[in-house]
Structure formats: C-alpha cells, structure tokens
Symmetry: C2
Subunit: 362 residues, 2 copies
C-alpha cells in the first residue's frame, strides 16, 4: 500500500477552542487597544509610532500569532512579490540547473517562486496570461523553440526576463535577457579538437530554438565557424533530440564512418549516447574517436571515459535572470546584478590527439 488517508482534522475538543481563524490586524488592534491603522504601521516599520505603543502591538502580534495576509496585502497595495518561471522542461540538466539558480535567487530575495511547464500543445497566450495573473513577474527559459515562442508572446506590460541561447552577434533581444556565450565556447571546443590533429569535427546537435536561420543555434554556429576558419567544409550535423537515446542514434551512424575521429555534441546527454554507440561499434574513446560534450552535467566527470565538455554556469544564468526581473519589479531596490561565469572547456578523458595510425579494422 502506498497511500495513507488523511488524519481527521482534529475533533473540536481542542485545547484552544477558538484557534480556528487566523488573526487579522483588527484582532491585533483590539488586543493591543489601538486602531488597526496603528497595527499596520507597526508591521510595516513606519517611523512615527511611539515606542511603548509599538511594544504593545508587537506583544499582541506574538500572542495571537498574527501573520499579515499575503493575499490582502497584494490586493490592497498592488504589489505582488512573486516570480513565475515558464519552461518546457524541469529535469534536463540545463533547465534544472537554471531553475535551481532562479530558486536560490528568488528565495534569497524573499520572492515566492512558481513553475509552469509549457508544452507544444498549450495555447501559449492562455498559458502566459494564466502565469501572469498570478501576479508578479515572469522568467522565461527560452532554450528551445517552444520556450522562445512563449517569450515572444509575453505582453509588453508584463514584467519579464528571459534566459536564452546566445543571440546572433550584434543583435540583442528586445526583451531583458541573459545568456552565455556558447557560440564562442563551441568555436573554442571545435578549435581545440582541430588543434589536436583531427581533420574535421562532426556535430551532434540539440534541437534549435529558432527555426528560420540556416544555422541550428549558436552552438552549431560556433562549430561551423571554427571549421570554416580552418578551411574545412563542415559535415552535415546530425541529432534529433535532447537525450542519450538521440545521441545513441546519431552516434551509431557516425561510428560506421571510419573517417570520423572527433565529435562535438550539443549536450552531455547526447555525448553519453554517442559514447555508448562508439563502444558498441568497437571504436575506442579517445584513441579512435574524441568526444566533447556540452553543459558539464554532474555525472559527466564520473562516466568512463570521463567526458571532456563545456561547463556552463546555468545556475548563474538563473540568478542573473532573476536579478534582471527584480529591477523591473522593485523600482528602487537596485541589487548588484550577479554575473554568470563564462563557459569553460573542461578537458577530461574523452578527447585526445588524433592517432597517426590509419583507420583500423572494425
């Protein structure tokens, strides 16, 4: 059996019979012998309250266990300190880590955090409206097509920040946004492989967040740029998905091609699948093929061979995005905007110099 029923919520033989309803400022006021407005002043730290009165009210607050009703506060003041995250996923490393950073930052600032997953089937406008009228602001994770589309449809009057892929050089998003320069990181990782003596680098792509451009996102672009800069014609990217299975499928094909000696993957899950496919094909890593991943997921350092990858500061991105939103919500509170760490290539076992020996038999 997996599920217990509820405890019947207390017989009415409670020690304190009248504990039912939460105390309001009116209750406190009566207990302290003042007006409700004075109580309001005390809980808001208003200066002009006599010290003795303040103490009396404080005492009443303690006694009655008063907590200011957040709903009423929001309605009366018009201020809603809360954040809702719109995302398409909560478990993939990049998303989960971003969410983690967002949660940390919002918690530190005392903002409740809401999470709403958006699916391709959702009516975007309806979803956004629902998230928006929770009050507060929105943070959109736009790593993929659906997320990016959601961001586009957020009405102008809704406070909103986004974390996105690196936009094309020179162009800045029309919405407040944060990103890491994964284009440059992909370029560096590819250049690293070329420098190791590999003739070319194959790319297993993550799904693109924008569909119109010829490229498949900044990571693909960086990879392409590095190859072109070296005078190499980029081979066709493969990959159709985010997870290890997609990596495995792509890797199976690449493994058959003995000319493939270096593979860059759009994320570590894909890389894991590629590794597995290479293993099944009898191709050794890094002796026969070098593999580099992206994101530095927690397990990537512990698999065998450990994975060379690009570390991404998703948590930092999340924190930064929250900071960006907060400046819109709290007009005065100018928090020092935290800056995420630059992407960094982490060299591990899965990459190495091209072996001079020719292709070996399968």
């Amino acid at each position: 059996m997996h599920v217990t029923g509820h405890t019947t919520s207390g017989s009415d033989a409670d020690p304190h019979p009248g504990q039912q309803k939460a105390a309001s400022i009116r209750d406190v006021a009566q207990a302290a012998g003042v007006s409700y407005q004075t109580v309001s002043r005390v809980i808001n730290g208003h200066p002009n309250v006599r010290e003795e009165t303040r103490r009396r009210v404080q005492a009443a607050i303690e006694t009655l266990g008063f907590r200011r009703n957040a709903t009423a506060f929001a309605l009366a003041s018009g201020v809603t300190r809360s954040v809702t995250v719109l995302t398409t996923n909560t478990v993939l490393h990049g998303y989960a880590a971003t969410l983690q950073g967002l949660e940390e930052a919002s918690r530190a600032a005392g903002y409740p955090l809401g999470v709403r997953v958006v699916t391709p089937e959702d009516d975007l406008d309806r979803t956004i409206a629902a998230a928006a009228d929770t009050g507060g602001g929105l943070v959109v994770i736009g790593f993929d097509r659906v997320g990016a589309a959601a961001l586009d449809r957020v009405p102008a009057h809704v406070p909103c920040a986004a974390v996105v892929e690196a936009p094309p050089p020179g162009r800045t998003p029309d919405r407040p946004a944060v990103w890491a320069d994964d284009r440059e990181a992909a370029r560096a990782a590819t250049a690293h492989l070329l420098a190791l003596g590999h003739d070319t680098v194959h790319y297993v792509a993550i799904p693109a967040s924008t569909g119109t451009r010829r490229s498949a996102g900044p990571r693909a672009e960086g990879w392409r740029q590095a190859l072109e800069a070296a005078g190499v014609v980029p081979p066709a990217p493969s990959g159709k998905g985010w997870d290890a299975q997609a990596g495995y499928d792509a890797g199976k094909k690449l493994a058959r091609n003995q000319d493939v000696t270096a593979i860059l993957c759009g994320n570590d899950d894909l890389a894991l699948g590629v590794l597995r496919a290479l293993h099944h094909a009898g191709r050794r890593v890094p002796e026969d093929v070098s593999v580099i991943g992206f994101d530095d997921a927690p397990h990537s350092a512990f698999i065998t061979p450990s994975l060379t990858t690009v570390r991404m500061d998703f948590q930092g991105l999340g924190r930064a995005a929250f900071g960006l939103l907060r400046t819109q919500l709290d007009t005065d509170q100018q928090a020092p905007a935290p800056v995420p760490a630059e992407p960094a290539l982490i060299l591990r076992e899965s990459s190495g110099p091209r072996q001079s020996s020719g292709p070996r038999d399968t």
Copy 2:
C-alpha cells in the same frame, strides 16, 4: 556581454492609449449595461442568467480583455487554488522527477505550483509559515532528514501531503503521504545478487531521513533483511552523501577488498561513483564485481557498463501526492487517485553471476 537592459516600456504613443489598467468586473458591467454582480455570475457560470444577458456580458469581456483578478478572488472567496512544494533539492533525480510529476498533476488540475527549497540553516517554522500563507496547500518531499523534519512541523490546520520513504512496516505516517516500497525493492535486489552466487552484498547508503532508528532507512533495511534471511551477517554500510563523488569515495575502499563481489547502492549517482572507483582499481564490472543502483536515472541505461538498477516511479509519486492534497483542498472534487508503479528491478550489464575463479591480482 551577457545581459541586455530593459526595453523602455513603450512610449505613450500607443495605438490604444488607455490600455494601462486591467479591466475589472465593474468596467465590464458598465460596458454591458448590467450590474457587476451579473458579470460575476457570468464568469462563474451561475445558472440563473438570461441567455441574452450572458452573451452581452461575454462580448464585453472579450472586448475589454477582462481576466478575473486572482488576488481579489482569493481574498473574497477564501479559496486559494495553489500548491507549494517544500523540498531540499530540485536537481537530484528522485527529487527532480517527483517535482516533475507534481508539476504535471497540478498543471492538469489548474493549480499554480510553487517551489521552495529548504536548507538545514532555515528556520523551519518560519519557512513553512511563509510557504503556507501563500495560500493553498503544501506538498513536502521528505526523502531526507531536513525534508522529514519540515513535514513534522507543518501545523495541523495546513492542508498538506507528503512523499516519503517507505515507513516501517505496520506504521503509517500521521500525515497523508505516498511512498514506494523501496524496502521490498532493496530486499529483492539484494536477493537477486545472492541468487547469482555472491556470498554477501555490500551497501553504499544514501543519507537517512530518520536518525533515531538503528537502520539507515528502508533501502538499508531491505538489504539487511535479505542478507539476514540468507543467514549472512550484513557488512557495515558505507557512503556519506548523495552524489557520484560520495559513491567514488565509498567505492575506493570497497575496491581494495577482494572479497567484495557485489555492491548495492542507495542511488544511481552513488553507483556511478562506485563504478568509477572499481574501474580505477582495475576491477571489472560485472566480471569481478556486480553493482546495482537505485532509481533508474535517465543516464543509467547509457553508461558503460549499463547499470542494473531499481526503477522508481517518482513521477507517479508526485502525481499521487498532488491527488492526495487535492482531496483536502477541493472537498467535492473526488479525483480518481492515481497509483504509482511498483519499483522494478531492471537488469542490465553491471550485474552478473559470481565468477567461480578466485580473486585475481590487481
């Protein structure tokens, strides 16, 4: 550069100059030539409204883009349809997957979902109070000590459901809760290893959620029971942490002991670390040592050797927990409580029969 500034929020040369403030039922009422109460009836689907009036109001609602103010509704009605999840972690597989299930279920039911991470440093009562006066109900993930402690401190009058480790046999939690029978699963996994010919099974434990008992949680108990049932004296469990590094540390010690031929791990991350440590020590898996993990994290099927593990339906647990909470929130709405899948042992490459050959040289 990582961060864009805000777009200056629209010059006042807007096409519709008066778009500033959201329409209220009073605005709608005026536009439709009825009283605000009639509007209220329409938006709440009250039966006694003349069809023509209803249409007129609907039209006004469309025109003005009216959406009922959630805050005011909550204040006036006293109903807060929302859920806050209290957890110590959002990224570890078990937690993240549970959260995912929770999100799915709450989204399907139209409840906004809040997430609040609890740290050991937090003042539990304060944290709970803060989460509770967001309105709505609480779901506590009590997989670890801090989470379990938080659950204990939730005031009786706060609607609350929990997902927890399997409680001791015969005892049911005093709070509505869901769990999977990981005790039995651990027993089965251990028995499986014994049946493969291993003399004993070592256990690398996850941190316990309860500190008082002699055991280190249901998984440890199941493991111990299986050994005792086979007349084997359980060796001391190791492990101090949740992640691969902790597994690596524990695995390093176990790898030195040539008598160790089978290891059960409290989760897949630990198993990953153990695998890595065994690899470094030159002990082959599964030929020299069998390793079984717990949880079936997404990458476990793709590492090499692929990991034999116990699949846990965390998503299902999350969904069930939400269902449990919902029955407390919606008195009438009796949703069919979804039942999570039973834990299942997934056999893969990392476990196998004990090799009859004696310990080999390092």
